[in-house]
């Protein structure tokens, strides 16, 4: 009975992978700046639906304690999220929201890397990851990144929610469909610095002041600050 259940579960996984492949093939066509925005929005909805299917299948596999299957689906879920984020990046750029677009790009990069960690057989995605980095260099201006140094006094494992010092889980590894990380519960800020390669590319200088006012580093527009607005009569 167990063997039959496992066979059925593998069939479910295989069937999901078929749906994943056909959805991704359809949607990849729209991962270019020139594609119609309404078509990209439609593709986002298809990917959102695929992501929900992945999530449901993963819950199923977790219930059956199929760790290998859950980790495979985690990887495909992350890739789906990465593709959707890339699509949202192009849409945000067309909607004149480059700061949002940058965050979507970083989401796309991080989730693609996470997919390979969850399922190393996806290493053929390196070409896709390289493309995301080429987009970063060509489409966006160079960023100024900041990085904070902390003294961490208490951190918990995201898998078992115990003190990370006292559990057996290891950061970066997948466990039953989830990548292990830590949540910092108690820390002291030690320093903040400007760095070339940050841990999180969302930590960047977004504005600076010059003679004209507060300038957005992405758009180069002068933006009204709250102070200036209060002073306008």
């Amino acid at each position: 009975m167990t063997r039959l259940r496992k066979l059925q579960m593998n069939k479910k996984l295989k069937s999901f992978i078929d749906v994943y492949n056909s959805t991704v093939t359809d949607c990849e066509v729209y991962t270019f700046l020139t594609r119609g925005i309404e078509l990209q929005e439609e593709a986002c909805q298809k990917l959102e639906s695929l992501f929900k299917k992945a999530d449901n299948l993963k819950k199923d596999l977790i219930e059956k304690q199929d760790e290998e299957g859950a980790n495979i689906v985690l990887a495909f879920g992350l890739m789906t999220f990465s593709l959707k984020s890339q699509m949202k990046m192009w849409i945000a750029l067309k909607n004149d929201q480059p700061d949002k677009a940058w965050d979507h790009l970083v989401d796309a990069q991080e989730s693609a890397s996470g997919a390979i960690r969850a399922y190393p057989q996806l290493e053929n995605l390196k070409g896709y990851i390289e493309r995301l980095h080429a987009i970063e260099k060509v489409v966006f201006p160079p960023q100024v990144f900041s990085s904070a140094g902390f003294l961490i006094k208490d951190q918990i494992c995201t898998i078992c929610h115990k003190d990370y010092d006292n559990c057996d889980h290891i950061i970066g590894r997948p466990y039953m469909g989830k990548l292990c990380s830590v949540i910092i519960k108690k820390c002291e800020l030690e320093e903040v610095s400007i760095v070339d390669t940050p841990h999180d590319k969302r930590c960047r200088i977004t504005h600076f002041s010059d003679r004209s006012g507060k300038r957005n580093r992405m758009t180069w527009r002068i933006e009204k600050s709250e102070e200036n607005e209060n002073n306008i009569t």
């Binding site: 997919a115 390979i116 190393p120 980095h133 140094g149 010092d165 290891i170 590894r173 820390c187 841990h199």
Partner: protein
């Protein structure tokens, strides 16, 4: 790849100051072991807990210097580099169990290969190894800063320093 070597403090003297056990074979020292004035000031590098778990998984026996109830904070910098622990290697280990040293380093490099597998950028790996010189109560520190592949070459550096 960068390896810088410098003299290190008298470990037994500092261990006594902090109420620590004296390391003999393989241990992890707090990052500021040589400069802290009291045990209240001590902290470890952010990846110390992970390395301890990797070694435990590989059945490598680390000597914990601090007491079971002591809990020291970790220093974490949010840059794209892996800040590993300060590893102590005793001369007895090098003489009697050199394979343990290779295992300790290989376990770290295998983990890093997996961890950075999906990364576009090449990670910068930073950690230190304190080597006890054979037949002398003197210690030297190897500061390693480089890529994952360079970790393999550290075993030869350790042997060279121990036997100088």
């Amino acid at each position: 790849m960068g390896v810088k070597i410098e003299e290190y403090v008298d470990i037994p003297k500092h261990a006594k100051k902090f109420g620590f056990k004296q390391p003999v074979k393989i241990a992890i020292l707090p990052q500021n072991f040589e400069s802290a004035k009291s045990s209240d000031e001590l902290y470890y590098e952010s990846e110390t807990a992970t390395v301890r778990k990797l070694w435990k998984e590989a059945k490598l026996q680390e000597e914990r210097l601090e007491r079971e109830e002591d809990h020291f904070p970790y220093i974490r910098k949010r840059t794209f580099e892996w800040l590993g622990p300060t590893i102590f290697i005793g001369s007895m280990l090098l003489a009697n169990e050199p394979n343990t040293i290779s295992l300790a380093l290989n376990v770290i490099s295998n983990y890093l290969t997996d961890f950075f597998r999906g990364s576009f950028q090449k990670p910068k790996i930073k950690f230190a190894i304190i080597v006890e010189k054979t037949n002398e109560r003197k210690y030297q520190k190897i500061n390693y800063e480089g890529d994952i592949k360079g970790i393999e070459s550290l075993f030869d550096q350790i042997k060279k320093i121990a036997n100088e």
